[in-house]
């Protein structure tokens, strides 16, 4: 049996690396937190891994804009190795700040990454401030390997810049028609709604994006923060232990690698 190896990227200001590593281990992957400098020094390092996760945090303080400085660093030092990683059929997951990085490098949504014309971005919440709250997510695709289609999940968001916007309506239509929308914010009953159901004012309630291969996923909510029942925000009042919704994302990734490598 293949040993599933995952690499969790570290860089200045990334701070969800330990719990992300833990979530991967719960999903039976062998996870390794690794500083970006080691990958820049040895670009073949990624070859050993099946999954790379860009965890949450405040890379470089989110200076200029969230994820921007790290995205710039990746574009200038690691773009090719990362592209190769994806082209080899491996998996990329960006959570919160990691998602912001993937969008700002152009890896997500990834339809026109080569000409550097970013048409989607993630910007300040409408509320103008950082907020930590739990949201329901409805999957919008059955082509993303991380996602169990049809299963609504419950996860926390914790960010100040999570609003997904496109350059214009055409770009939004393109996102939808090309199947890039991975998750939408909904209420408990699966309906879209205003704040706080949509916690940041994202266009069309979009919470996560996937690329055309379905092997790259970025999302603002934190799946690694719901991997045990006591993570649920009101587990103490539930009669049945809640299913750990966040772990499904990691389980699905590991399952895909098992089946394909």
């Amino acid at each position: 049996m293949t040993e599933i190896k995952a690499i969790v990227l570290r860089a200045a200001g990334i701070n969800c690396d330990m719990e992300t590593e833990h979530a991967l281990e719960l999903a039976c992957a062998q996870a390794q937190r690794t500083h970006i400098n080691r990958i820049i020094e040895d670009k073949t390092l990624l070859d050993k891994y099946h999954i790379i996760v860009f965890p949450g945090g405040f890379s470089y303080g989110d200076d200029v804009a969230a994820g921007k400085i790290l995205a710039n660093q990746i574009r200038h030092h690691l773009y090719e190795p990362l592209r190769k990683f994806i082209d080899e059929g491996k998996l990329v997951l960006g959570i919160c700040n990691g998602f912001q990085v993937l969008v700002k490098t152009g890896i997500l949504p990834g339809n026109n990454s080569t000409d550097n014309q970013q048409e989607v971005t993630i910007t300040n919440n409408d509320s103008g401030k950082f907020e930590d709250r739990w949201v329901y997510l409805a999957p919008q695709t059955d082509k993303c390997v991380f996602i169990e289609s049809g299963r609504q999940i419950y996860l926390p968001v914790a960010h100040a810049e999570g609003k997904i916007v496109t350059k214009d309506d055409a770009a939004l239509d393109e996102l939808k028609s090309a199947g890039h929308v991975a998750f939408k914010y909904v209420d408990e009953n699966g309906n879209e709604g205003a704040y706080p159901i949509n916690p940041n004012g994202s266009m069309d309630s979009i919470a996560g994006l996937t690329d055309t291969t379905g092997r790259v996923l970025g999302l603002m909510p934190h799946p690694e923060r719901f991997v045990r029942p006591t993570h649920h925000p009101h587990w103490s009042r539930l009669r049945e232990k809640p299913a750990n919704d966040g772990i499904t994302i990691f389980n699905n990734a590991v399952k895909y690698i098992k089946e394909n490598f």
Binding site: N15, N37, R38, A65, R225, P229, H234, S236, R237
Partner: protein, 960 residues
């Protein structure tokens, strides 16, 4: 060198949230003539690249390609009908600019080295505004004088700083020949904050040496002897006159707070009152350390920066405890003036409480969140006496290996400074925070404000944990108040140290040796490293771009020697520096206050009072604040600060799971009630202890593993009538710790929280004692929360309700203080705590909530609306003292040691058996109807209100 200016604006059609929030602030200030505010980011880049490359930097790096636009050069005001006013805000020279540092790195990633980068913010105000309004907006909203300069109109930005390199000039401050007046004058002139006795002691030392002190020697002594660093008041001998009787303490702290710890002598206390934080056992492999600090004076001047560096500083305490802990949780407790004050009610030199609150919350938020440490517990108190002296308590909890709880610096070890560089920020912080504030402090002490850069601290933490695991250093401590002076001085106290200040890495040129030595520039730690480990440890730091510098070594002659590029500038005996501070004796007076109970007519309905209390700032929901903190990062959250069916009820304490592979948890809480201190600080302190304990017990904390922290914030304790209450509170700390068998493990005091107004009047804060508490949770899966769980479950009150409305919120809304302050039955309180804790461990309770501010009625309302269920209660079931006959006292008395618990009907027998011999009674049951109904002893309904309107009353005041 070319100078590029890039302005970044929001593209039209994309909302400018920053501009919008500025506009809201302007409207709040009462200025309605501004129609719109546009905000822009400005980058000033000195670099030798051409226009094409500048375009690339702007396009690829500085502006978002989707929602922003850039302009290279200075854009003029937008043409249009409305008048436009331009205001630019620039950081003062020398103030840390983290964004600029990141931009430098990013430009380097693009292949070019920029010489210098600065950032600024530009605002375009649209509307007919007067010059005076422009100035007000610039000063009160857009900028802070302490750290920023405003440029109004289309003028040139301030020039880039080009500081001249420093040339060594050794300065002596002669002292041997001075008379007493001259000594006092010297202390004042140099901002040493040393009193005459201390100056005389220093004079004698130098007379014996037969030479004059250098400036840096006096500064070192002043810092080491500052109230902030040695707590001379709490350690002084005190003569207390209490209602005419006389009590003497040789050492106040040792004979009260610390005495309890010593007598309790718990084997799970690993290191108490010794290191940067108190250390207790967590499990067989790990230890937990906890420290709470205040950062009051800096937060008064610069709420954002002051609070940010407050949390940044306290995080370094566990990082610098033993061989260094990994921070796992933050706490924060604030005291502000009431946020709805009119501008003309604010004394000169003081910021508006609302602005202070917003800034403080943002500062803690941005630093704590960026560090990736969950902020899990806190509280906010409002009282107008905090207007000029807001209190900002920041706490941090860390986890470490049990075998790494002690340092072992040895002579011959290298002294290495790790992390940030040294700048002029935060000079004289330790001494400044030990003195009184005045309306002129704003200008005089602006340099005492430190500016934080959390990412530098996070990077430093990452590498220090690796170095710790590899066992590459012998000791570690943080550069906190007093900077290198305090860090090296403390670590080398038993050894001796020599440091060459010329080797220290600086943010910019021009600092003299004294500034280098005492600067409180943030994000620095000092470690002691064996020479043979230097290479290995330096590699760990270099690998992740963290700067480290060997600045000296520890010696064995018990002397502190400072050099600047080889030339000696100071030589002090460690013994004199650390133990030379004269012992104080202080006088304290406590006279019981002559207070009376008000005469309030009894009513037959208390709906209005309940809603008013729920809406009072102290009781109201703090959700607006709590949500801005990441309370779940690190993945250890078990009981979150907000709880209940809609995740918005007021949790009693937080629980975290520090280790992924263990179901053991930590419960964290606090207790504080300054209002009771206005009646009697003794009962205030005991109430704070009981409240902190109750909160821990309510969520499932172990009763036999409670550790306490004390943080005193007081007025000027040289006044006997101010010190008296502090002594009273300390006596209560001893009694409370002994009663609960809960030792104090760490503490801190911030005295002199007074403000001298322009007209000479003094404003002192109320005597404020924060009790923080921590306990072990054996099994996190057994924790309970305060929200009502299911209809038809039974509700019991355990603990007696007494006629104790003094200092209550009920009296507060009626405009009274009262006299009957809540007392504490030292025998009964721990018994109840123990039984409740046992009932939770047995799984008998499905909810548990303590009665605190607002009493029984508020606690029942909170349980109901947090659970989205109704409650029917009947005061005939309330265990009460004989004299507690009035309905309003039964509803709103804030008596201690009371818990409301919810049990399933089938557990009644087991529960009742367990509570035998305790005052307890069935108060009611949970209902499906979303209504809170309370019946009086005569059977009449006195409260009937739907839970949604109660919740709204509770949520509205601070839903900003």
């Amino acid at each position: 060198m070319k100078k590029w200016r890039v302005e970044v604006f929001n593209r039209s059609g994309f909302s400018d949230v920053h501009g919008k929030s500025i506009l809201e602030d302007i409207n709040e200030l009462g200025i309605s003539s501004v129609q719109a505010v546009q905000s822009a980011k400005v980058f000033l880049i000195d670099a030798d690249f051409d226009k094409n490359f500048a375009e690339r930097v702007a396009h690829e790096l500085l502006a978002d390609p989707v929602c922003e636009e850039y302009y290279i050069g200075r854009s003029s005001a937008p043409a249009g009908l409305a008048k436009a006013t331009l205001i630019e805000v620039h950081l003062k020279s020398g103030v840390t600019d983290p964004v600029a540092e990141s931009v430098m790195t990013a430009i380097a990633d693009m292949g070019v080295k920029a010489d210098h980068v600065r950032t600024a913010r530009k605002y375009v105000l649209l509307g007919e505004i007067t010059q005076k309004q422009t100035d007000t907006i610039a000063k009160k909203i857009l900028s802070n004088d302490c750290i920023e300069d405003c440029v109004i109109g289309n003028e040139a930005e301030p020039p880039s700083p080009h500081l001249k390199p420093y040339e060594l000039q050794i300065v002596n401050w002669p002292i041997c020949e001075l008379n007493d007046d001259q000594l006092t004058a010297l202390s004042k002139e140099k901002d040493l904050f040393l009193n005459l006795v201390e100056m005389q002691t220093i004079q004698k030392y130098y007379q014996q040496l037969g030479r004059e002190p250098s400036d840096v020697e006096l500064e070192s002594i002043a810092q080491t002897w500052s109230e902030h660093c040695v707590h001379k008041t709490l350690k002084s001998s005190v003569d207390l006159s209490i209602n005419g009787e006389h009590v003497h303490f040789d050492d106040l702290l040792k004979e009260t707070v610390f005495k309890a710890t010593k007598q309790l002598d718990k084997d799970w206390c690993i290191s108490v009152f010794a290191d940067n934080a108190g250390v207790i056992e967590f499990d067989k492999d790990s230890a937990i350390c906890f420290k709470v600090e205040t950062h009051n004076h800096p937060s008064a001047l610069d709420p954002y920066g002051g609070a940010a560096t407050g949390i940044g500083g306290v995080i370094r305490d566990p990082m610098g405890t033993g061989m260094g802990a990994r921070p796992i949780a933050n706490t924060d407790i604030f005291c502000f003036g009431e946020p709805d004050k009119k501008i003309d009610e604010i004394p000169k030199g003081v910021l508006h409480p609302r602005r202070i609150m917003k800034g403080v919350v943002a500062g803690v938020r941005d630093y704590g969140n960026r560090m990736g440490i969950p902020t899990v517990n806190g509280a906010i108190y409002f009282d107008d006496r905090y207007m000029a002296n807001p209190l900002v308590y920041c706490g941090n909890i860390g986890i470490m290996d049990k075998d790494k709880c002690f340092k072992n610096p040895q002579s011959g070890n290298l002294i290495i400074m790790v992390g940030g560089r040294i700048g002029r920020d935060g000079i004289h912080g330790a001494t400044f925070s030990s003195g009184q504030m005045t309306h002129e402090h704003e200008t005089i002490f602006s340099h005492a404000v430190q500016i934080g850069n959390p990412i530098v601290e996070k990077k430093m933490l990452d590498v220090l944990l690796q170095a710790n695991e590899a066992g590459l250093y012998e000791a570690i401590t943080d550069c906190g108040a007093g900077g290198l002076s305090s860090a090296v001085g403390e670590m080398g106290e038993e050894l001796g140290a020599e440091v060459d200040l010329g080797k220290s890495p600086l943010k910019y040129a021009g600092l003299n040796y004294t500034e280098i030595w005492i600067s409180e520039a943030q994000e620095r730690m000092v470690i002691a490293v064996k020479p043979e480990n230097l290479e290995a440890i330096t590699k760990i730091f270099d690998d992740e771009n963290v700067e480290s510098t060997v600045i000296g070594k520890f010696t064995d002659d018990k002397k502190l020697r400072l050099r600047y590029n080889g030339q000696q500038v100071a030589e002090l005996d460690m013994e004199f520096l650390h133990n030379g501070v004269p012992k104080y004796s202080r006088k304290a007076v406590w006279k019981g206050r002559q207070l009376t109970e008000p005469n309030i007519p009894v009513k037959d309905n208390y709906n209005k009072e309940l809603e008013q209390i729920l809406s009072s700032y102290n009781v109201a929901s703090k959700e607006w604040v709590i949500r801005q903190y990441d309370h779940e990062v690190q993945g250890g959250s078990v009981i979150k600060p907000l709880t209940g069916v809609n995740n918005d009820g007021p949790g009693d304490a937080a629980v975290i799971q520090p280790k992924f592979n263990s179901d053991k948890g930590l419960a964290i809480s606090c207790g504080m009630n300054p209002l009771y201190g206005d009646i009697d600080p003794y009962w205030m302190a005991l109430s704070g202890i009981d409240e902190a304990v109750r909160n821990l017990i309510c969520v499932g904390g172990r009763v036999d593993r409670i550790a306490l922290l004390d943080n005193y914030c007081w007025g000027d304790c040289t006044k006997p009538e101010t010190l008296g209450p502090l002594v009273r509170a300390s006596q209560a700390c001893y009694d409370g710790a002994m009663a609960f068998k809960a030792p104090f493990i760490s503490g801190k005091d911030s005295l002199n929280n007074e403000f001298a107004c322009e007209d000479g009047t003094q404003i002192s804060i109320p005597s404020t004692l924060l009790i923080s508490a921590i306990s072990i949770v054996n099994d996190i899966n057994k924790c309970v929360t305060m929200d009502a769980k299911r209809a038809s479950n039974l509700l019991f009150v355990v603990g007696e309700t007494k006629n104790e409305l003094g200092g209550s919120h009920y009296y507060k809304i009626k405009g009274h203080l009262g006299a009957n302050v809540p007392t504490l039955d030292l025998g009964m309180a721990p018994k109840i705590a123990k039984k409740i804790s046992a009932a939770i461990a047995e799984g008998l309770l499905v909810s548990c909530h303590d009665c605190s501010e607002g009493g029984l009625a508020v606690a029942l309302a909170e349980m109901a609306f947090a659970g989205g269920l109704g409650i029917e209660a009947d005061l005939r079931g309330l265990p009460r003292s004989e004299d507690c006959t009035r309905t309003d006292a039964q509803l709103f008395s804030e008596s201690n040691s009371r818990y409301i618990v919810e049990i399933e009907p089938e557990n009644f027998d087991a529960f009742a058996k367990m509570m035998l011999n305790l005052p307890f009674g069935q108060i009611g049951k949970v209902t499906q109807e979303k209504t809170l109904i309370i019946k009086a002893e005569d059977g009449n309904i006195i409260i009937e209100s739907d839970i949604d309107s109660l919740k709204q009353a509770w949520q509205k005041p601070l839903a900003w």
